[in-house]
Symmetry: C2
Subunit: 231 residues, 2 copies
């Protein structure tokens, strides 16, 4: 049985401002405030709500705070610090990023968004370092699934399960556990069709990604703790 | 055995800008940006680092992000949603705030800081509502301890323990579990002397408050789950 576990944030609500709205006053205001071009601005619903009215699937977009909080929980965990957790981020535009072991992301939300803007533009940070801290590891979710072995999706329409069963299945089949990192709406068909197993937790109650991450992490840490004790 | 649990964030690194630095250019810049008086600005090290050079104990101050992330974890948990977790926030200036059941705090960091500024100024939000969402429940930590029954402090110099033991002790004695919510340095003598029990987790490794909160929450949810099953 594999002891390492992979968690992937799916369809993460994190993107640069789409070209169609880069001239909106709210976007220009953000760009001016930070002294950056509009194409370097991360879409953030709390600032750009007015600008997003004509953006397709706007209910899934512009929530970098979800990724920030969830990454803080994942990357500050003992599982990550001890090297037994791998973390990936699949974005709403498709590519999959990987995080270096022992990485700590900025605690401050503005700094986090600045780092993410650089990542989404250049596909690695720091851009010129041969050993980046975060980098594009796969072009799309299909490549991630093909190369890592499979995906167990947490989905409120999946088969009823528990955190313990989900973690054990992921370890047994060496599947990544997928957590949606968007505010509302459902997964894309492509994500659903790439998921070998679909499970729902807590009776399908919708919890934020960070709460799901906390529950999965703690369960995993308990299970590998138990495994270690019975060696 | 009591099944409810209380978690209190201790010496939370959250405050209005102290009077001595309200005329610093960095503070005035923040006040101007939000169109508020300097006295309504929450101290934030990521913005006000330069202004904080002469502030006493500056290493413990100006980190509202710690409280934001930790409250997101606590208040979005199943334990809180089902009414079995009570959450309190003791601030660096001494008073203790309580949170209404089913409260969800702003996901956005700027909005969170805005809400906290109102709370710290007026001691309740919304200010005129007879049933506030957050309010000053105790004038100081001593009053909290006297009236709620006691405090079990998580402290890296405490006696070695585990999450399971800590949660069971807290339930058995009906003590609140205290988690430090400041970035570095130690607890004040007053906090230490008000703590009936002091325990350290994960061998004294220093984890952020949100990681500790996640571990305690998950353990608690497991334990009351187990209790329910054996009823």
């Amino acid at each position: 049985v594999e002891r390492r576990i992979r968690i992937i944030l799916l369809e993460s609500s994190l993107e640069l401002v789409p070209e169609s709205i880069r001239r909106h006053p709210k976007i220009l205001e953000t760009a001016r405030r930070y002294g950056i071009p509009p194409s370097h601005v991360i879409l953030d619903k709390s600032l750009h709500y007015d600008a997003m009215s004509a953006v397709p699937k706007k209910w899934k977009r512009g929530r970098p705070d979800i990724i920030h909080t969830t990454l803080l929980i994942l990357l500050d965990s003992m599982a990550y610090r001890t090297g037994s957790l791998e973390v990936y981020m699949h974005t709403i535009s498709g590519e999959v990023y990987a995080f270096a072991p022992n990485l700590r992301i900025p605690r401050n939300y503005e700094r986090f968004k600045g780092l993410m803007a650089q990542l989404l533009r250049l596909h690695r940070v720091p851009p010129s370092d041969p050993k980046p801290l975060i980098w594009k590891a796969y072009d799309d979710l299909e490549e991630f699934v093909d190369q890592t072995g499979g995906l167990l999706l947490l989905w409120e329409k999946g088969e009823e399960s528990t955190e313990v069963s989900v973690v054990k299945e992921a370890l047994e089949y060496d599947y990544a556990i997928g957590i949606g990192a968007f505010p509302s709406g459902d997964f894309e068909d492509n994500t659903l069709s790439l998921s070998s197993i679909k499970r729902r937790l807590v009776g399908g109650i919708v919890l934020p990604a960070w709460s799901i991450a906390c529950r999965i992490l703690s369960t995993y840490e308990n299970i590998i703790g138990v495994m270690k004790a019975s060696d």
